[in-house]
Amino acid sequence: MAELRKRGLVTAVVCSDPFLALGKNQARVFGVPDLPLVVIPHPLGGLALEAVKERAAVATPRLIELVKERRA
């Protein structure tokens, strides 16, 4: 993901809230401290389809924003 970011592609890492600190640390380690982290409510795994859709609803607007920012 860091490599894609460095190449200028629209990138984002989806993570659930307890993993935000790890995500920020790793973005710094890999030289992309501005890597967008799309935070969704925990958990990410072990979900029924309805709960997956709820998280997608949180993440999707942010992803659209990122694409628009890139195009602008």
């Binding site: 307890p18 600190a21 790793q26 380690v29």
Partner: protein
């Protein structure tokens, strides 16, 4: 080779602290370093003493430790070895274990950062295990031996302080495990009826090695009744067939530890190590129906699609895919016990031989002593 005094002059290489045990430990806590236990203050003098058994350049990384990918230089490792309470002659083994677990197949990033409770298990083979009095007998995974306790602890301190495996931001383990304080033992080669692990992996018997495994804590296998190889192996295999272990979803390399009495019973039945592994692989299984409906649909039928896409509830799921992937070692003292050590799954064990800087196998820790 740059000297220690010069290296400690570099910005950030050393910090000033009051020359007081409690003050240094308060500073360590304040900075968020360490494993929570008090440390031995790593003064320049103690670090210099630790490096008496290091034949590498002090500032050249031997590895980069995930998830921070911090550079594990001998100087930094020595500071952690001092903090852990190591004797200087232990130092080459610490360095070797760190090198081994930073090899790509081990997948240290995932082992460190996962929610799973794994930790790098270090199994020591060869003559240096005896030279350093690394426990391979009673309580080998427990307390009581300085080498086991402090080399294992130094590894953990390096994983924390250099690698950044800070709980909650670099190490996301849901539970953690007592093995994250220290997890190192030697194989009980003297009481094993079989060739030791390093010989099995192609190293001469007189070399010394470390084998690292991304592992859970040992799960005991009690069998005081079986009198035959098949009996002991059936009990061990029965313990390995569980639905909640990562191993069943990966091409995993779990560890089977036999204490000498169980190993003797198995060997007396004419079983070589290869035979025992084959038996365990065939019998360590459980039917599909023992898994939850969701795990069947989302994991088994997906991960092992070719085998289980249309399998019925009686089809067998194997804990280990290939017999040779079982790491079978003899460790422990008297008693009718074995242990199954499940793994993280997404990791491969790595064995490294103890070598001098010139590439020759080391015969003794004295080979590393600086002139």
């Amino acid at each position: 080779m740059t000297g220690i005094a010069e290296l400690l002059e570099a910005p950030g290489a050393a910090i000033e602290a009051e020359d007081d045990f409690d003050a240094v430990n308060a500073l360590v806590r304040e900075r968020g370093w360490g494993d929570g236990l008090p440390i031995v203050p790593p003064t320049a003098e103690r670090v210099r003493g630790m490096l008496a058994y290091c034949d590498r350049p002090l500032d050249e990384p031997v590895a980069k430790i995930a998830p921070r990918y911090g550079e594990a230089t001998p100087l930094r490792l020595a500071a952690n070895a001092v903090m852990a309470g190591c004797e200087p002659r232990y130092f080459p083994l610490l360095q070797l274990a760190i090198e081994a677990m930073c090899e790509e197949p081990f997948n240290l990033y995932a082992v460190q950062a996962t929610t799973h409770l794994c930790a790098p298990l270090v199994i020591v083979n060869g003559p240096v295990a005896r030279e350093l009095d690394i426990n391979s007998g009673h309580n080998a995974f427990g307390p009581g031996h300085r080498a086991n306790a402090t080399i294992g602890r130094a590894i953990r301190l390096a994983l924390l302080n250099i690698g950044g495996a800070t709980p909650g931001s670099g190490d996301m383990s849901t539970f953690g495990a007592p093995s994250k304080y220290s997890y190192l033992a030697a194989e009980n080669e003297a009481e094993s009826p079989w060739e030791p692990l390093h010989v099995e992996r192609g190293f001469p018997a007189e070399t010394s090695t470390v084998t690292v495994v991304g592992a859970e804590c040992p799960h005991n296998v009690n069998d005081h009744e079986s009198l035959s190889a098949e009996g002991i192996l059936t009990t061990i295999a029965g313990t390995m067939g569980i639905a909640g272990a990562n191993d069943v979803f990966y091409t995993a390399q779990p560890v089977v530890v036999m204490a000498p009495e169980h190993a003797a019973t198995v060997a007396s039945g004419g079983f070589s190590k290869t035979d025992a592994k084959r038996f365990l692989q065939e019998h360590a299984n459980l039917p599909v129906g023992k898994f939850s409906k969701e795990n069947i649909e989302r994991r088994l039928r997906v991960t092992w699609k070719e085998r289980y896409a249309n399998a019925g509830m009686d089809a067998l799921v194997y804990t280990v895919q290939k017999p040779e992937d079982i790491i079978l070692v003899v460790i422990g003292g008297a008693g009718k016990h074995s242990a199954y050590i499940p793994t993280f799954g997404a990791t491969r064990s790595v064995t490294h031989a103890l070598k001098r800087r010139d590439g020759q196998h080391a015969r003794s820790m004295e080979d590393f002593r600086r002139p």
